[in-house]
């Protein structure tokens, strides 16, 4: 039997340690060490490492969001999907990803079309086709994640984008059906027509997406004005929590299930819109030799995004801080700043769904190193001496309204001492503890 503190080699100790399995009522995350400080959650809640909600195509396999946006002038729906089996023109039936359906003559839908193997965005009003556009892609691999944005707008027309590819468009500007439930995973609640596969990261808005916002959605960063956000990472139960301002929780029908891989863990679920966890008193010691650990599942492909994004920040003031963050330079960085003198070490670029163990180290002499899954990815010298006790922010920058991220950290720790000489071994132990399945 081992003590959690024995994750660390002799001579080191945690100054702070937070393990997501202890999230308390989606309100706080207690410390796992004596003398540590608990985090307060704002919007953030306990999620899991599930890959998403699984739909089996039966009549009781859908997520019914209710009669949203009747006659709405604008709507966009972004989601990721992954099929159980390959799909192409030889498929025997449509597979609906979402729809708003009154009857067969009044509906809008997004579906895989069996005769062509394409992804079809289609709308019909009173029996007259408003538009029908399809992806150029005609085959879809099983177990491969695809991202799709479908949007209609009274100003911008219709757009269908697969994996940030070239939009397929139509000039139609008609409004949404004036009734009918918005249903994810099927054409309508009760019809056996749905996708056979997994859906996650459903984000919905009612404005016009900019090109940058479309890119960001593909990368995993939702717009701040998203109305509904269903991460579908609950991993148990039938409630799909709406993390957006719409506060419209959905209910998964009885044939839905949660798709886990080998990794089955509670995580701190962050929506990338306005969620975060923090300890806002100036009490966390970030002076002297230290190491910061972040271990979890990435929800963002950190490259090509124009925004500033923060995974973990511990800050006394703008001149004394430590950070894992994304600055628009196409990497996750380890930033250390003491007495106004800072150093950045660029790391790597994760894909959405990757697991990662980040370790940043800093010595009192100003030597910093950045380890990614146990491998040294960079080092620097010259960070100033950090003074002061820090506040902690996870999933956002300390600045109000800035830097929200959509990752799923499972463990975050601040270590007394520079662990760079044992970073690979420590990473291996965290990998085993969390069963991430990384090769380290």
């Amino acid at each position: 039997m081992l003590d959690i503190e024995q994750l660390l080699p002799p001579g080191y100790r945690f100054r702070e340690l937070w393990d997501a399995e202890l999230i308390n009522n989606n309100a706080t995350l207690p410390s796992s060490i004596p003398g540590g400080h608990k985090l307060t959650l704002t919007g953030a809640r306990k999620g899991t490492t599930t890959k998403g909600a699984h739909f089996d195509g039966s009549a009781t396999s859908n997520l019914n969001l209710g009669a949203l946006y009747n006659a709405g002038a604008k709507l966009w729906v972004s989601l990721r999907f992954k099929l159980d089996r390959d799909y192409d023109s030889s498929a025997s039936a449509y597979q609906f990803l979402w729809s708003k359906w009154i009857d067969d003559n009044n509906r809008i839908l997004l579906a895989l079309e069996n005769s062509l193997g394409k992804l079809l965005l289609f709308k019909i009003d009173g029996g007259v086709n408003a538009f029908s556009i399809s992806s150029t892609q005609i085959s879809w691999n099983a177990n491969q994640s695809y991202h799709v944005i479908a949007s209609i707008s009274s100003a911008e027309g219709v757009r269908l984008i697969i994996d940030n590819g070239t939009p397929v468009t139509d000039a139609d500007t008609s409004a949404l059906p004036n009734e009918g439930d918005l249903v994810i995973g099927s054409q309508y609640d009760g019809e056996a027509s749905g996708i056979k596969g997994v859906i996650s990261d459903v984000v919905i808005g009612t404005d016009d997406l900019s090109v940058a916002e479309e890119l960001n959605l593909y990368k995993g960063v939702p717009p701040s004005d998203a109305i509904n956000s269903y991460l579908l990472d609950e991993g148990r139960g039938v409630t799909a929590y709406d993390r957006g301002s719409g506060a419209n929780n959905g209910t998964l029908d009885s044939s839905c299930s949660w798709d886990f891989g080998a990794t089955k863990l509670p995580v701190l679920s962050l929506d990338g819109i306005n969620d975060y966890a923090a300890h806002t008193a100036y009490v966390v010691n970030i002076s002297g030799d230290l190491s910061l650990i972040w271990a979890g599942k990435f929800g963002i492909n950190y490259t090509g995004i124009a925004s500033y994004l923060s995974l973990v920040e511990m800050i006394f003031d703008n001149d004394n801080l430590i950070y894992f963050h994304y600055y628009p330079n196409d990497y996750v960085n380890w930033q250390t700043k003491g007495n106004g003198t800072q150093k950045f070490i660029p790391g790597l670029v994760p894909s959405v769904g990757d697991y990662g163990i980040l370790i940043g180290t800093l010595t009192r002499a100003g030597v910093s190193k950045f380890f990614w899954n146990g491998n040294l990815v960079g080092s620097e010298t010259g960070t100033g001496v950090i003074e002061g006790l820090a506040r902690v922010f996870i999933g956002k920058d300390h600045t109000v309204g800035i830097g929200f991220t959509a990752d799923k950290p499972s463990l975050i720790g601040l270590v007394e001492g520079d662990v760079s000489s044992v970073a690979k071994q420590l990473s291996r132990r965290i990998n085993k503890l969390k069963n991430f399945g990384l090769t380290i």
Partner: protein, 221 residues
């Protein structure tokens, strides 16, 4: 002792006497250098590095780089991953039994309401030996505090049910003039279960009472 027959580069070597064990047989294990061919005990003697891949047909080992390059006739031995600590003293092995974990929380109870001290989630594996210990600040009034344990049950993975066996006794007038300390041992959680421990205060006594609490538990790994 197997001897290195070819040094391809800093991360690849061949050992003819370890051919034909099947591709991948040693992947993830450790390559330990028992003896440096120089005979003076110089590095890499005594070092062990992770084996990244193994090719059966020619006995090729891909490994992490040693501090000093290998040489032909260095004597090497693959060691199973479960039986070796690395040279830095950090075991790669997290025991497959139970890991002792803990949590700490300071909160306040308030009149006519309930607060949750701790929540536990056994999604990753069973949890046993759950102990909740808390310290209630002194209250000279007639406050009554009721601890409760709630668990999810088999086939009902999100609805919490109050545990009633063994009964938990209400704590009347905690501490009176002096503070007091309480400890509860709770039932084990099966994989997938959830648990929380709460304190409810009646509508009397102090407006708030500080509770300092610690949770210890053992989690399967």
């Amino acid at each position: 002792m197997p001897a290195i027959t070819t040094v391809t580069d800093s991360t690849h070597c061949k050992i003819d006497s370890l051919k034909s064990h099947g591709d991948g047989r040693f992947q993830g294990d450790w390559l330990h250098i028992e003896r440096d061919d120089g005979g003076a005990g110089a590095p890499p003697q005594g070092e062990a590095r992770r084996i990244l891949s193994y090719t059966s047909v020619d006995g090729t080992f891909e490994h992490e780089a040693f501090s000093t390059g290998l040489a032909v006739n260095d004597e090497a031995l693959p060691l199973h991953r479960e039986f070796i600590d690395d040279i830095n003293g950090v075991s790669d092995v997290v025991e497959r039994e139970f890991l002792l974990k803990q949590a700490f929380n300071t909160t306040v109870t308030t009149k006519n309401s309930s607060v949750t001290l701790f929540t536990l989630d056994a999604l990753a594996g069973p949890i046993k030996d759950i102990q909740v210990e808390f310290y209630l600040a002194a209250d000279g009034g007639v406050t009554k505090i009721t601890p409760s344990v709630y668990k999810t049950r088999a086939g009902d993975i999100i609805t919490f049910t109050k545990e009633v066996v063994p009964a938990i006794i209400d704590l009347a007038q905690p501490g009176l003039a002096t503070a007091s300390r309480y400890r509860y041992t709770c039932k084990d959680l099966r994989e997938g279960d959830q648990f929380y421990f709460s304190l409810a205060q009646t509508d009397d006594g102090a407006a708030t009472i500080v509770a300092d609490a610690a949770l210890t538990y053992k989690e399967a790994r």
